[in-house]
Amino acid sequence: MKRRLISMLVGAALAVGAGAAGAQISDGVIKIGVLNDMSSLYADIAGPGSVVAARMAVEDFGAAKKGMKVEIISADHQNKPDVGSSIARTWYDTDKVDVIVDVPTSSVALAINQVTRDKGKAFLVSGAATSDLTGKACSPNTIHWTYDTWMLANGTGSAIVKTGGDTWFFLTADYAFGHALERDTEAVVLKSGGKVLGKVRHPLNAQDFSSFLLQAQSSKAKIIGLANAGGDTINSIKQAAEFGIVKGGQNLAGLLVFITDVKALGLQTAQGLIFTETFYWDLNDATRAFAQRFSKEAPRNNYPTMVHAGVYSAVLHYLKAVEAIKTDDGTKVIEQMKKMPTDDPLFGKGYVRADGRKIHPAYLVEVKKPSESKHPWDLYKIRATIPAEQAFRPLDQGDCPLVKK
């Protein structure tokens, strides 16, 4: 009888304890959903590699040792906003996902930005580019981590105009991302005294770019700005070489190029391209060590892209914030993430701004010549480092309603 009483008391105490924990960490588990393109043109940039990066962040945070239970699930949004938002709803409503991470393809990210806000959860963007996520669409539930269109435009655009590339023609992917990148780059070109001679919008995941390239060629612009990404950028660059565009005196500006794109093109075709990234694996010992570990687990032993690095860094900071305030309530965690300074081996020290913009340095890189490359992933030279304070759009210029003026 006595024993039964004790066990009941212990049981009740445990139940109360569990109940208290339940009010903090929902159902005792922090559930991270990695949502991205797993099968199409952005799958190497983000894809399964982002799941690997998230897992590494959970390991490095030491969740198991700290007694925190963290689960990672993943899904393929197929670059379709409707597919993406219905997955997000199911995750939040029935699968008890606390935070969605990555989400390349700006149109999908903007949709999930809204869903996350409606549900009061947390959204850490690494793969998507549109600067609207911290501009007019900014949300108290979203942090835009790795890079954005303003940063790319500012880094690459102004560097190119400075070296004489003052007339531009844009080849733009016809959706939210391409439009934002084109808009932000055009602003930089005009501000630096350049001119935009024309633009053409191509459908996402187009195969043949020759027609668009021919239009760019006849515009006689000095610079053909590629406001597209992934497979579209690869095919544009490859076919531009075929049509003798660079030999004819025009230059290509890849506005968003990832290391996997350069790898896929090969140095012979990609050499000399200049663009902006916020992460390169060969920056210092810590990034090199990360790349080694990542590569062992990643599909086809790929090295990490900046999107993968961003997923790692964002998840790490998220878990630190959850640990600090002992809750996984989306709005509160994002608030805490903005309060705490960030620090991780990949991006160094940084912080998250009121509009949800994560701040760190950016790098203007140039693709090496085949003769300069010492091993298969030795692909970039760092031409310049853009300090964190200058890399991103100033807080007061984004029209984010969260920022008090």
Partner: protein, 294 residues
């Protein structure tokens, strides 16, 4: 001189590019039309087989050092042989059933093949160089025409017309056509109809692989290269008239031209224009432009 605000010179360039894309549509839709005409199978694996052709060329070069020209011969043979195996082991069981079963089987196969290659090679694709003899290009005055693209137009025209000739104008072709009309009767004349059908499927698949090898130097060799193209090619076949050989050739080139023009006048619609045409054609001539109502 200008037409609708576009200089004529630029327009010529765009038309030529349309023709180049049209050659791929024609080659692929030709294979589909041959297979549908003789087997009554809607071969959804066609895009994957086109991709296999390109990968075959890539692997021949990387692993065995065999270059483009031999690949043009070897890749279609290898991929065609896999087609023969698929026909013998799987498709042959479906001829008596509804079209839908063939469609489901080939669609499933396509997904499996693409999935396997994506797992193995990723989605960014692999580079394949233009053969040395065809690098560079000609300045035509109104545009710079890469030699390789010129070769694609010529090669594709020759292959398409040769195929049309064999099927419509030779004795072998007449057997094939007769076998589609009435297999029992043709069998009664002592012709091995099942073997003929197997070889026809193999040939259709080989055509897809050949298109794949020709595409490898232009596009990235990537697992989804076929799935992007196949939907358009199906529209081409439907517009041309299911099973019509000449229909698929003419429509292939024609739609390439129309798509090329769309890319100049309203580029945003270049992905959809073919489907709009398909809808219109189906409303007016349900059997397609060159098809005959059965």
């Amino acid at each position: 001189m200008e037409i609708f605000g576009i200089p004529t010179q630029a327009l010529f360039g765009q038309l030529l590019i349309g023709l180049i894309n049209g050659s791929f549509y024609a080659l692929l839709s030709l294979g589909l039309a041959v297979i549908f005409g003789l087997l009554n199978i809607i071969n959804f694996t066609h895009g994957a087989q086109y991709m296999l052709g390109a990968f075959c060329a890539y692997l021949l070069l990387e692993k065995l050092g065999i270059g483009y020209w031999w690949s043009l011969l070897i890749a279609p043979l290898v991929v065609g042989a896999t087609g023969v195996v698929i026909e013998r082991t799987m498709l042959a069981r479906l001829y008596k059933l509804d079209h839908l079963y063939g469609l489901l089987l080939t669609f499933g196969l396509a997904l499996i093949i693409q999935g396997v290659f994506r797992n193995e090679y990723g989605s960014s694709g692999l580079p394949y160089r233009i053969p040395e003899q065809l690098t560079g290009g000609q300045n035509l005055g109104f545009m710079f025409l890469p030699n390789y693209r010129a070769w694609v137009i010529v090669a594709s025209l020759v292959i398409c017309l040769a195929t049309w000739f064999v099927i419509e104008r030779t004795k072998l072709g007449s057997y094939l056509r007769a076998a589609t009309e009435n297999p029992q009767l043709v069998q009664a004349f002592g012709i091995n109809v099942p073997r003929m059908i197997t070889l026809t499927y193999g040939f259709g698949v080989a055509l897809a692989a050949l298109a794949g090898v020709m595409a490898a130097p232009i596009y990235q060799v990537s697992p989804q290269m076929g799935s992007d193209l196949i939907i358009v090619v199906f529209a081409v076949v439907v517009i041309g008239g299911m099973g019509s050989i000449m229909g698929s050739i003419v429509t292939g080139f024609g739609l390439g031209l129309i798509e090329g023009l769309t890319k100049v006048f309203y580029p945003e619609a270049s992905n959809t224009v073919i489907f709009i045409i398909m809808a219109i054609v189906l409303l007016i001539r349900p059997a397609g432009l060159f098809g005959t109502q059965k």
